[in-house]
């Protein structure tokens, strides 16, 4: 693996993990009766940027390196499910995350100007789903790396 590909992988993982952490913080704040929507909207947009960066770096790594250098090793190794299930699931459910993140950020921005309790609760629920999908993606990534 070249240093550039290693940098792509590191950026993908750390960017994604911080974005997941941001959604955790956003959810904790949205569960309050009177959240600070300015703070939530700012961190939510930061999560969008981080997910897009994580998406882009993973795309480069996946398209140029994973398919030819990593996937065959996993399939030939002790845990082929690492690719057949965990990587296949991860690479596809990850496609949903940036859109969830954008929706959360848009809602948080809207709530800054028009606070609404029903929308706050719905946004909290959406953030919970995004957090769950993000955590599942991260967990799958750990399994995939362990399968190499």
């Amino acid at each position: 693996m070249t240093p550039f590909l290693a940098a792509m992988l590191i950026t993908h993982v750390i960017g994604g993990v911080i974005a997941i952490g941001i959604h955790n913080v956003a959810l904790m704040h949205l569960l309050k009766k009177a959240p600070n929507y300015v703070f939530i909207s700012r961190i939510a947009w930061a999560a969008v940027a981080l997910y897009l960066i994580s998406w882009a770096t993973s795309a480069y790594y996946y398209v140029t390196y994973y398919g030819t250098a990593v996937k065959p090793r996993i399939l030939a190794g002790a845990l082929p499910a690492g690719h057949i299930f965990f990587m296949e699931t991860k690479e596809h459910i990850f496609l949903v995350l940036p859109f969830l993140a954008i929706s959360i950020a848009l809602c948080a921005s809207y709530l800054r100007t028009t606070p609404d309790d029903a929308l706050r609760k719905s946004t909290a629920f959406l953030t919970l789903i995004a957090l769950g999908v993000g955590a599942a993606t991260a967990a799958a990534g750990i399994i995939v790396s362990g399968s190499v």
């Binding site: 992988l9 750390i14 750990i142 399994i143 790396s145 190499v148």
Partner: protein, 168 residues
């Protein structure tokens, strides 16, 4: 790369120290502050600061933890990532975060949530220190569940000692 590994380990240990320490003092402070059924503004600020330290510890732990996983991946030493002890530790961390969310949402009763939080922090510390055990993933989680019950009972007794039983 060795320097990076040492930095990540130090960051991980500092995060653990902050998190376990803060979790311990959160329980000590809450038991003491709530002994008269009144939590003053100053006491609330102290508790808030303790939780901030705990979250800081968790942040350091997560970032350094994933940094260490990346280091293992890039140096091709990936056996740890599928070990029972490591997977159990990750499960306990997940329960810790989920418990915090349930407490925030007022879905989890404080008595149970406090026991889960404190036990989870110490379990993560112990599993991280032991590195590898002969126990299977499910055995470790059974021990963990038992520890939650024991810690919950102990916290209940301690709070009763500083408080009337009806006010726990």
């Amino acid at each position: 790369m060795t320097l990076i590994y040492e930095i990540l380990i130090i960051m991980h240990i500092v995060g653990t120290a902050l998190g376990v320490g803060a979790a311990t003092f959160a329980e000590i402070h809450y038991t003491r502050f709530n002994s008269d059924d009144i939590i003053t503004d100053d006491e609330k600020k102290t508790l808030a600061l303790t939780y901030t330290v705990m979250r800081t510890g968790l942040f350091l732990l997560v970032i350094s933890g994933f940094g260490l996983l990346l280091y293992l991946r890039l140096t091709e030493y990936t056996d740890l990532l599928t070990s029972a002890t490591f997977l159990a530790k990750m499960t306990v961390i997940g329960i810790l975060v989920g418990n915090a969310l349930l407490l925030q949402a007022r879905i989890m009763p404080l008595a149970i949530g406090a026991a889960v939080s404190l036990t989870s922090w110490y379990t993560a510390l112990v599993l991280g220190s032991l590195r590898d055990t002969n126990a299977s993933y499910f055995e470790i989680l059974i021990y963990y569940a038992g520890a939650v019950v024991v810690v919950g009972g102990a916290l209940r007794l301690i709070r009763a000692h500083f408080h009337g039983p009806k006010n726990i």
